[in-house]
């Protein structure tokens, strides 16, 4: 199941006034995150879900709001099921703020850019290399990726498992796939908000 959440829409639904396109203040961030969590719970629970969080209609985000919406969403991605997130429509201004928040908590996330999916935030070099390798193949086992990278398989598997744990890539048995590239766990395209 792939959900699409337009943050601008959630923001306007959350606030009483229908005028704002700025994700500012901690109470606003907490309200928006709560609304996202409600939407995800009501969107049909499955063992695994992929949610695209769309910033296209958000003019700006401040640190307090980024901490409430993004950091807390990534740090508690749903206890009852595997929740994966891809962030879309992020501008340089959004990223300036979000990067600081990710650094503060040691977090990373998957962002969709014109060039495709990218991993950003706090990452080890081994994770970056493994992600690039898995992106090239689309779907692969750890020994295949180790061969591509010319690195020991245990080290590559460690990096892959760490990224799985951080919900940056998906695992299907012994196969690894990038989040958002054919590994969503079901048919895509449900518009949640």
């Amino acid at each position: 199941m792939t959900n699409h959440i337009d943050l601008g829409t959630v923001l306007r639904q959350t606030l009483s006034a229908n005028l704002y396109s700025n994700l500012v203040t901690r109470p606003t961030g907490a309200a928006v995150r709560t609304q996202i969590e409600l939407l995800l719970r009501s969107s049909g629970a499955q063992d695994r879900s992929l949610t695209v969080i769309d910033f296209s209609h958000v003019a700006m985000i401040d640190f307090s709001c980024a901490d409430e919406v993004i950091a807390k969403l990534l740090m508690r991605p749903g206890q009852e099921r595997e929740a994966y997130f891809v962030f879309r429509g992020m501008t340089d201004d959004h990223w300036d703020t979000i990067e600081t928040v990710l650094e503060r908590h040691g977090l990373a996330l998957v962002v969709e850019r014109d060039s495709g999916l990218e991993l950003v935030g706090v990452l080890e070099d081994g994770e970056r290399r493994a992600f690039q390798a898995i992106k090239r193949r689309g779907r692969a086992e750890s020994w295949e990726l180790a061969g591509d990278l010319g690195e020991p398989e245990p080290a590559v598997r460690h990096a892959l498992d760490r990224m799985c744990h951080r919900r940056l890539i998906m695992r299907h048995g012994t196969m690894y796939t990038p989040v958002g590239e054919g590994g969503g766990g079901g048919p895509s395209g449900e518009e949640v908000a």
């Binding site: 606030l15 006034a17 005028l19 704002y20 700025n22 500012v24 203040t25 901690r26 109470p27 606003t28 003019a59 700006m60 985000i61 401040d62 640190f63 307090s64 901490d67 409430e68 950091a71 807390k72 501008t91 340089d92 201004d93 959004h94 300036d96 703020t97 600081t100 928040v101 503060r104 908590h105």
Partner: protein
């Protein structure tokens, strides 16, 4: 007996200390007259701090003798000063009616901030104005605009999260031809709340030591990002503001209680920490972002 407090001819972050030095020794219920008749110029900090001073003298409503110069009193009116000052001061002198047109240099007139919705309003208004002015007329790098609005949001949130009562914000552009040879944008945010020291002391984990005072509290909050909250995500606001200030070679100063801390750029000769200032409740913040000169 009424004590006359002389308001300096030029009222800004530094000269406002002269006002506080005169007010500090007086009992809370002392009758005072703030004499601003000869004041010719006031910065956003000067105007918002003056309103804040009025808020603190609620035991005996002070009198404010307004500036005599037409252009000065007209500017104070366009900045909405008298509209809000009327609540805290007995205004003496000729006060113009509330201005119907705004000043193009004033990006945000004096605006009260006491709840989250106020910040959405402030941020929305400043975005409209900055689109018109900062990027084009002022030559401030457009890449700095997002961070500027974020900075404004974070410093205003400081009031709501920590002050315990409302405060004021004002934003203005200047041409600092003599001082800097460049234009600048200045944000002033002032409140008369509990201040940084009391806010941090309210944290359950706070253990005061021998060095604990207003300066130590400011250092903890502004430099190290310490807050009264246990949530590890807290404290990012002022840290983010510092990062933005550093990137755009700006200046940040924060006064609270009897101390003032500043992140000082190379173009300014301010001191990084001042202690033993006259006591003043709450927190007063000023952010200055200079125009970026394109590399040749």
């Amino acid at each position: 007996m009424t004590t006359v407090i002389n308001v300096p001819q030029s009222l800004d972050e530094n000269s406002f200390e002269q006002v506080l030095q005169q007010v500090a020794p007086l009992p809370a219920d002392a009758k005072v007259l703030l004499d601003a008749r000869h004041t010719r110029w006031a910065s956003p900090y000067g105007l918002s701090a003056l309103l804040t001073l009025g808020q603190t003298r609620d035991h005996a409503r002070p009198t404010l003798a307004v500036p005599e110069a037409d252009d000065t009193v007209s500017y104070w009116s366009r900045a909405n000063f008298f509209f809000y000052a009327d609540e805290f001061f007995e205004l003496k002198g000729v006060v113009p009616k509330r201005a119907t047109h705004s000043d193009s240099q004033v990006l945000l007139e004096l605006t009260p901030v006491s709840k989250t919705e106020d910040i959405h309003d402030v941020v929305g208004r400043i975005q409209d104005k900055t689109r018109q002015i900062i990027g084009t007329e002022l030559g401030i790098d457009p890449k700095a605009l997002g961070g500027f609005t974020m900075t404004l949001s974070e410093v205003c949130q400081n009031i709501i999260e920590h002050a315990g009562r409302g405060g004021w914000v004002m934003v203005q552009t200047y041409n600092w031809a003599k001082r800097l040879g460049r234009r600048v944008v200045v944000i002033a945010v002032c409140d008369a709340g509990v201040g940084f020291r009391t806010s941090l002391e309210s944290a359950g984990s706070h253990v005061p030591d021998d060095r604990w005072d207003d300066a130590a509290a400011l250092e903890a909050a502004v430099v190290r990002g310490v807050t009264r909250f246990r949530d590890p995500g807290r404290g990012q606001g002022l840290a983010g503001v510092r990062k933005y200030i550093g990137r755009w070679n700006g200046k940040l100063s924060v006064r609270s209680g009897t101390a003032r801390i500043a992140i000082v750029p190379d173009w300014d000769d301010d001191v990084p920490l001042e202690e033993n200032l006259p006591p003043f409740p709450g927190a007063q913040i000023q952010v200055t972002i200079p125009e970026r000169i394109p590399a040749r």
